[in-house]
Amino acid sequence: MSDILAVADHRRGDLRDVSYELVTAGRELADETGGDLHVAVISGTVDEFAEKLNREGVDAIHTVSHGEEFNHDVYSQAVTQLYDELAPQYVVTPNSVNGLDYAPAIANELDLPIVTDTIGLEADGDTLVATREMYGGKVETTNELEGDAVVTIRGAEWPAAEGTGDAAIEAFDADIDEDAIGSTVTGFEEVGGGDVDISEADLLVSIGRGIEEEENLDLIRDLADALDATLSSSRPIVDNGWLPKNRQVGQSGKVVTPDVYIAIGISGAVQHVAGMKGSDTIVAINTDPNAPIMDIADYAIHDDLFDVVPELIEEFQ
């Protein structure tokens, strides 16, 4: 019988959705190990967060009141101390930007293996079988490890926990060594801005790496004009400076839910998919029939965008 410790994510006063998904993943693991599910919430309005996290299947919630926002040193210290106190088999965190900023550190500190970005987990006795992707989602792998471990879970892979639980909510008196804190968050900034809000569009024409050269972007602009659609893109286009940040769809960009999303020359990296999979209808134009985008597309054209797009423009001009 071994317990699970799940560490919630929050930002600027709100619990992040993945925290509820984490409860589901943690509960499933706890059912397999036959133990309890402990949830930790660190910094911010912890009592309020604890009430929200008290969903079905949670056995105990540990609050660590220290500072307002995420600080990886505070999280590392609090989680390692909770680990020492609770001796869970697995520490589970979101595979979020902040999760990746402390989970590897606690794994190293506690001398535990870490398996990141998991999309499936199964515990059998001392063995954990973790499913994750490689090569940008082209393959899935199963990975086994023995004994205790730190695991990070990908967002939106588990359903959010619902209902109301009867967890014991307790303040955990973590001994935070202020001298060991080597970084300070000084603020947050929304990026992008601009005059176009891609999250409001009904029809998005979205372009990715397949466009090859900046000059070729004119072709996609012509298409957006012909269709009276809004132009958006995947990350590499913005990284190259070909479109401003406010056009980027994905985890680090905007989440969009148009009626139709036309993904042109976009392979469908998980970070991109996270931002557009809520679209009503997804059309992918890509020469690679095995591109991950095909897994979520409703319609696909396995052809060269430079052949298909001019035909489409002609049809609507």
């Binding site: 930007v97 500190e109 009626d259 591109a291 979520i296």
Partner: protein
């Protein structure tokens, strides 16, 4: 200031491929400089050009075949390279975070850099954990997913961390530190012909595990890759076949049916 950049040669996979056991068959694999590391190299070289860094050293875990990739980093401006390899690593099917941490930590300790820049993740195994793990291991500060670094470094690195949903966090990190570098932080340069010629003459120091003082038992992977397969499609995708004219026409009909285009 000395900067150490972790450089990985990643495996790339062709559009069509076959899996043999727990690996992709060799003939479908290529090799490339890890995209995220390319941005880390560029950032280090820019710090050198700005007179902040005196030396940029790269470190790579990999066999002799990856020297081509290391030379790319040298051609872009890194001063010298360290490559660590050992026959005992040859049969490992996963070089997991713990093993990489042991090896890279030994090199960090030997080189004693002020700043370590590492790609956020590797394009092949995507663990995205090694940089932070190394930092904790050697007692450096760290910042994960950095997409902006102020180039007036003193004792503190002022960075922006790219959070989800178009929000950036402004953070001050004491040096020495490990920063994991996100794409988009800069525009990686192409190596010039002159750079490529010069790279051939730069020092590429090859070290075994024994050389860097790491015991073989310390790099035994905790993780075992037990299966590899192509993911099942979540959707029943309708594939439009035919000429570009035909498929464009199908898409046109769909857009009209959905009422989003006339």
């Amino acid at each position: 200031m000395k900067i150490l950049v972790t450089v990985k040669e990643v495996a790339t996979v062709e559009d069509e491929f076959e899996i043999q056991g727990t690996e992709i068959a060799d003939q479908y694999l290529g090799a490339d400089l890890n995209e995220w590391d390319d941005y880390a190299i560029e950032e280090a070289v820019q710090l050198q050009e700005d007179g902040i860094a005196d030396e940029v050293v790269t470190v790579t875990i990999g066999p002799e075949e990856c020297e081509q990739t290391i030379r790319q980093a040298l051609a872009k401006g890194a001063d010298r390279a360290v490559r660590v390899w050992d026959d005992s690593l040859e049969d490992t099917n996963v070089l997991d975070v713990g093993a990489k941490t042991e090896i890279l930590s030994a090199v960090v300790e030997a080189e004693d850099p002020d700043l370590v820049l590492s790609g956020v993740q590797a394009g092949d195994d995507s663990f995205a954990a090694t940089g932070v793990s190394v930092a904790e291991n050697v007692g450096y500060q760290w910042g994960a997913v950095v997409n902006h670094l102020e180039h007036d470094l003193g004792d503190v690195a002022s960075v922006r961390r790219e959070l989800e949903g178009g929000v950036e966090e402004l953070t001050e990190i004491e040096l020495p530190a490990v920063l994991t570098i996100q794409t988009g932080i800069n525009e990686p340069r192409y190596a010039s012909l002159r750079g490529i010629r010069q790279a051939q003459r730069k020092e590429l120091d090859v070290q075994s595990l024994a050389d860097i003082g790491v015991d073989e038992s310390a790099i035994e992977a905790d993780l075992e890759l037990t299966d590899m397969y192509e993911p099942e499609s979540e959707s029943d995708v309708t594939v439009w076949e035919g000429s570009a004219e035909d498929t464009a026409s199908e898409l046109g009909d769909l857009l009209r049916d959905k009422g989003v285009a006339q």
